[in-house]
């Protein structure tokens, strides 16, 4: 009991949503954005950047289809490079969305409610960007259908199910599907709110169709809550499995630097770390630009910074264990791989990532840093870079100098590699901005559940 009142005191100190909100103001603040006729200038400006970069992606991929994957820099011995680095980077970023919407739901963390919707949107768009890389690395994506998916084709071919690459196809496509379903189901009641508030007939019709005729009856809500809880329960093992399976792409091989049992947990921690950094990158400007400071409060920012720190420390532990494994294995190839990482031609990338993911994040221990939006925003961008470098280090430095010195070689990305990578950032930005404008970016009904108006006394006396 004492513990409970202590918690309440803490809640009052830094509330999940700032005081002064009731059902009407919450609905108004959030629903106003998709329903308004206004397209703010800042939004248009950023959208243009996004669309411009997405156009570059279109060009880069179009040229790839014309010329083949030889336009990319990866070649023997570094057969995997930007395509897999970017794939793992994007997939990892997606993980924070599922963590917020599923795992924190199971733990009844109410603060997740204001950020779950757009974190889930981030997940879906990140997975979409990720999928581009392996699919186009096949060179002929229209053939990838029978390479990747088991369906009865005229050649009587079936995929090799004993390969981690096929496991990855199942993991990522399931992840994408379940994330979209979870996202959409979560939006149905809010679509009904938009339908009921829309002034224009067109908007009322579109949101009405998306709401499926939701009425919010007691029966509806009961099934809805059961379905949400089950989906959260299913998404939790799913999200942990996805990056585990992605890490199998490496860990199941026999390449020094990849063949390590630490990989699954290390990848999952890295994914959540990068993902929370990305949520911060998005949340800090969005809450300011849209005046959402009363719904996405400093409490959210603080909590996310803490999770970033916690998972970042796990990632740092992973770096330590990798180095320990290499030494303790007694294998000269493993030891050389680590030496090559630290002091070889790509040493700059290793030490930059250590500087960011191990040294810089220690600043997050300080409350003053966690409360400083500007600094946190810059740090979150650096973490994005740090985690990209981590995948670069894992992939490139493990491949560029393998068992036989005669087959060593350097990897240099080409302009097409960069155009594709920055192009996917543009695609992500475009999708995210469209989401901000046309969909309620914060879950309206979930935020309302935090307000006294929705509370019912359990021990009611007639």
């Amino acid at each position: 009991m004492a513990n409970h009142s202590h918690n309440t005191a803490l809640l009052e100190e830094t509330p999940v949503i700032l005081p002064g909100h009731d059902f009407e103001t919450v609905t108004e603040t959030i629903a106003e954005i998709p329903l308004s006729k206004r397209f703010p200038l800042g939004w248009i400006g950023v959208l243009l950047i996004g669309v411009g970069l997405a156009g570059m992606l279109h060009m880069a991929l179009g040229y790839l289809l014309l010329k083949g994957i030889g336009i990319w820099g990866n070649n023997v011995p570094v057969g995997w490079a930007f395509d897999i680095i970017n794939f793992v980077w994007w997939i990892g970023i997606g993980h924070a969305g599922t963590l917020i919407s599923a795992i924190l739901l199971l733990f009844k963390q109410q603060w997740r409610m204001s950020i779950s919707r757009f974190a889930e949107a981030m997940t879906i768009f990140a997975v979409a960007c990720a999928a581009i890389f392996p699919v186009f690395h096949t060179g002929r994506p229209w053939l990838a259908a029978y390479w990747l998916f088991p369906y009865p084709n005229a050649m009587g071919l079936w995929p090799q199910f004993k390969s981690p690459l096929i496991w990855d196809v199942f993991a990522v496509s399931t992840y994408a599907t379940v994330s979209i379903v979870f996202w959409y189901i979560g939006m149905i009641p809010d679509m009904a709110t938009l339908r009921d508030r829309a002034v224009s007939r067109v908007k009322a019709t579109i949101y009405g169709m998306l709401s499926l005729g939701w009425r919010g009856s007691a029966r509806h809500w009961h099934r809805y809550e059961v379905a949400s809880l089950i989906l959260a329960g299913l998404s939790t093992p799913l999200v942990l499995s996805v990056h585990t399976v992605v890490s199998f792409d490496f860990a199941v091989s026999v390449i020094p630097g990849w063949h390590a049992t630490i990989f699954p947990p290390y990848f999952v921690a890295g994914a959540i770390y990068a993902g929370f950094a990305m949520v911060l990158t998005l949340a800090i400007p969005v809450r300011r630009f849209y005046g959402m400071e009363s719904l996405i409060t400093m409490r959210h920012i603080d909590n996310m910074a803490k999770i970033t720190l916690a998972t970042g420390l796990m990632v740092g532990y992973g770096y330590g264990v990798e180095a320990f494994f290499a030494w303790y294995s007694g294998s000269p190839h493993e030891r050389f791989m680590m030496w090559n990482r630290m002091f070889g031609p790509y040493a700059w990338s290793y030490w930059t990532l250590i500087a960011i993911n191990v040294v810089m994040i220690q600043l997050l221990w300080l409350k003053s840093v966690r409360q400083n939006n500007g600094l946190l925003f810059v740090m979150s961008l650096f973490i994005g870079i740090g985690m990209w470098l981590e995948r670069f280090v894992i992939i490139v430095t493990s491949l560029n100098r393998d068992f036989i010195p005669a087959s060593w070689g350097m990897y240099y990305p080409t302009q097409w590699d960069f155009m594709t990578f920055f192009g996917t950032i543009g695609l992500f930005l475009t999708l995210f901005l469209l989401f901000l404008r046309f969909v309620p970016m914060i879950s309206i009904f979930e935020v309302k559940m935090l307000l006294p108006q929705s509370k019912v006394k359990h021990d009611h006396v007639h």
């Binding site: 079936w158 007691a218 379905a227 019912v456």
Partner: protein
């Protein structure tokens, strides 16, 4: 007299009462059920756990549907891999066993989750009778507030105890802020 009541009952879906908070709605729902009404439905902008227990008294079958879906997914995943790798398209790679079940774990696991999640989502939608573009409650203008900040309770005309003026009067006595007829 009996005739005219029946006619009214046929044209009406029921009588709707409006409330300001979840607590008021729950109190009114308790009173309504205690009064002997059976065809009752509550509408709210947020989920209220108690309402289903008070009004409908039974839990959804959704969890069983999801379990069945998950098991079907697991069977599909494992069956597909076994059939493709052992029967239809066996590949001898270094003499390793064709039916190595350990390598089938990941896709079986993923399909378990996929089928279960789709069962949960589709099951919820179908059991709720959605998509349903038309419903009588939408005929009440005030009902557009049900997705924003008002709470509603409807006693349906199908209820054996339903009698428009008496029911409306009863709902007013539960503390309703407004009582409306719901046209069919």
């Amino acid at each position: 007299m009996t005739m005219s009541t029946n006619e009214t009952a046929q044209r009406l879906h029921g009588v709707m009462a409006e409330f300001d908070s979840a607590q008021e709605l729950v109190d009114a729902a308790r009173q309504t059920m205690a009064h002997g009404f059976t065809k009752v439905e509550a509408y709210s902008p947020v989920p209220i756990e108690e309402l289903n227990d008070i009004i409908h008294k039974k839990r959804t079958k959704l969890s069983q549907i999801v379990l069945a879906g998950g098991l079907a997914g697991m069977a599909t995943g494992f069956g597909l891999q076994y059939w493709a790798s052992v029967i239809e398209f066996p590949m001898n790679i270094g003499g390793r066993p064709q039916a190595s079940w350990t390598t089938f774990i990941v896709p079986s696991y993923e399909l378990t989750i996929l089928f279960a999640a789709l069962s949960a989502a589709i099951g919820m939608i179908v059991l709720n009778g959605l998509p349903q573009p038309y419903h009588a409650v939408f005929n009440v203008d005030r009902f557009s507030m049900a997705s924003s900040d008002k709470f509603f309770l409807v006693v349906e005309s199908a209820d054996p105890k339903f009698d428009q003026p008496v029911t409306a009067e009863f709902l007013r006595s539960t503390g309703a802020k407004g009582v409306y007829d719901v046209d069919e």
